[in-house]
């Protein structure tokens, strides 16, 4: 499965997050666990 440009992937167990700035046809894994695509959440930005 292709990872997508500008998307973030997370491994819940370690808390690692990856932001993709060059996409490609590959899987992202941590210790053989698939990293999951993160959904944007609203953050309390004042800017």
């Amino acid at each position: 499965m292709a990872v997508q440009l500008g998307k973030r992937y997370k491994d819940e167990e370690t808390g690692i997050e990856v932001l993709v700035i060059k996409p490609g046809e590959c899987d992202l894994k941590v210790d053989d666990r698939d990293m999951e695509l993160m959904q944007p959440k609203v953050l309390p930005s004042a800017d």
């Binding site: 440009l5 500008g6 998307k7 973030r8 932001l19 700035i21 060059k22 944007p40 959440k41 953050l43 309390p44 930005s45 004042a46 800017d47």
Partner: protein, 524 residues
């Protein structure tokens, strides 16, 4: 993390999206790829002027695309940017440039004459660059950029190195430089803003000067978020409404006086607010009447309101009162009362209320607002005494006085250094001012202490009346006595057309004391 990576990441994710748009002024537009190329050229040009990592570069200009390019070029080099308050007096400017030891000063056309005037007194700054075309004694900005190569520069920055040195308003003494590190800025921005996403395109209109922390963070958050930064050279309600109606701004941070002027402007009704998601206000106390009016105008049109309270010393926002708190359609009584608050702490901020011995007080008690957070400033530049007074045992002492209610909402009740002491009784200026601004005939109010034989000091109110209103000392005194403790009621008043304010809208109390500091009624 070096903040230049904010730009590099967004340029990789959304290269064709507009990054910078000047609203009014030169009307320039740069997409992310173009911005990155311009920044790289400028970084090479600045290096060509002999500036090295760890040194400083200053800017004396209104907001502009070139100003933003200069920040990111400095970041690319590991150089600290010193954005100067363009409302400063000659003495303050000379002080800021000499203390910071800026190698280069970038100047917009409007300030060439002023800079020429102070040049003989500058001890360190030797190179001057004109943003707006050739000028005698200045290097030309456009020529510098065009003549430089676009070769990537990579330096490793120490997280503890300042990325910006921002001088605080200095209402009581010469300005102090607040050191905001690369780590402070990265922590603030990445904790509060999602990174660039091809599917999300927001647009921030920045109308607060870049020399203010809220302007500086807008410049960083917007680029990290892959947003389009709509740059207003200087705030006008027309320019702001154009950024919203014509350019489709989604987010904006304003100071209370700006919001008031926007709401009073005839063109507001004709301006489409369809794209606007959030208006943040802060940097100065918000008159209750203004926020109450805003609650009647904006949320119904789908525009959220947020009150953000923070300081330069804490890398911007400490607490916030979010859009749901401004929705008065539910829990109206509770929420109306909390409109007078500045909300609850951000996730990475701990608030403590302390007494004069730096002992933490119980919830509900009034005292100095102190904060702990990873993004509290490194200190005041070359002012160890001032730093050790401001940061004690890891707590930043804000100088603001307040209390926290049972829901965790912080209410600011005054300034620690802005107390009036009448016969041993402390009077918080903020409390009296809030009371006065609820008066139907008063538009704006500020109070100061004036000398008194019997009490040492008594309260004098400097008031801007509403059109057609007549104010007398007796009426004002009686009105206050009916609302707050009688000893807090002003004994004298001065009626004026406007209050002297700094660039961020804060009332200049020292100027008021000079103008109206005698125990008399003036123009009343």
């Amino acid at each position: 993390m070096n903040t230049i990576e904010f730009l590099q990441i967004s340029a990789a994710v959304v290269p064709d999206r507009e990054a910078l748009v000047e609203v009014g002024g030169a009307g320039r537009r740069l997409n992310y790829a173009e911005m990155q190329e311009q920044v790289t050229r400028l970084a090479n040009a600045i290096r060509g002027l002999g500036v090295e990592q760890g040194q400083k570069v200053a800017v004396m200009a209104q907001n502009s695309v070139d100003f933003v390019l200069t920040y990111y070029a400095c970041a690319m080099l590991g150089v600290t940017l010193v954005p100067l308050n363009y409302r400063s007096k000659d003495e303050e400017l000379t002080h800021m440039l000499n203390v910071s030891q800026a190698e280069v000063l970038f100047v917009s056309e409007r300030y060439l004459e002023l800079v020429n005037r102070i040049r003989p007194g500058l001890t360190h700054t030797k190179t001057f660059v004109s943003y707006d075309g050739p000028a005698e004694g200045y290097r030309d900005f456009a020529g510098l950029v065009a003549g430089a190569v676009a070769e990537d520069i990579w330096v490793e920055v120490d997280d503890e190195q300042p990325t910006v040195l921002i001088f605080t308003s200095g209402t009581t003494a010469l300005p102090k430089g607040v050191m905001i590190t690369f780590l402070d800025m990265t922590a603030y921005v990445t904790n509060t803003m999602n990174p660039a996403d091809p599917d999300v395109h927001d647009k921030t209109v920045v109308s607060v000067p870049f020399f203010h922390i809220a302007g500086a963070t807008a410049m960083l958050s917007s680029i990290w978020g892959g947003r389009t930064l709509l740059v207003l050279p200087q705030f006008t309600p027309e320019g702001w409404l154009s950024a919203v109606g014509d350019e489709g701004a989604t987010h904006s941070m304003v100071v209370p006086t700006m919001l008031k002027r926007i709401m009073e402007h005839d063109a507001l009704e004709q301006t489409s607010l369809d794209t606007l998601q959030l208006i943040t206000y802060g940097a100065a106390p918000m008159p209750y009447e203004v926020v109450r009016k805003a609650c009647d105008i904006f949320p119904q049109q789908g525009v959220g309101l947020m009150n953000a309270y923070g300081q330069t010393e804490s890398t911007s926002t400490l607490t916030y009162l979010g859009p749901e708190d401004h929705d008065l359609s539910v829990d109206m009584d509770v929420r109306e009362a909390r409109l007078r608050s500045v909300g609850r702490p951000m996730d990475d901020v701990e608030i403590g209320i302390m007494d004069d011995r730096n002992v933490l007080l119980e919830p509900g008690d009034e005292g100095e607002i102190c904060v702990r957070s990873d993004r509290v400033m490194k200190g005041y530049y070359e002012q160890e005494d001032a730093t050790s007074t401001a940061i004690i045992d890891g707590w930043l002492h804000t100088g603001d006085v307040g209390r926290v209610d049972e829901g965790g909402y912080l209410f600011i009740t005054g300034r620690k250094k802005d107390l009036i002491i009448r016969g041993g009784e402390n009077i918080s200026s903020g409390e009296v001012e809030n009371c006065l601004e609820d008066h139907e005939g008063i538009d704006e109010a500020a109070v100061i202490g004036v000398p008194d034989v019997d009490w040492g000091e008594v309260v004098k109110a400097v008031l801007v009346p509403k059109p057609g209103a007549t104010l007398t000392p007796e009426d004002v005194n009686a009105y206050c006595k009916s609302r707050i403790a009688s000893f807090k009621a002003p004994q004298y008043i001065a009626v004026v057309d406007e209050l002297p304010r700094n660039a961020m809208g804060k009332v200049l109390k020292n100027d008021l004391r000079k103008l109206y500091g005698s125990p008399t009624n003036d123009n009343a």
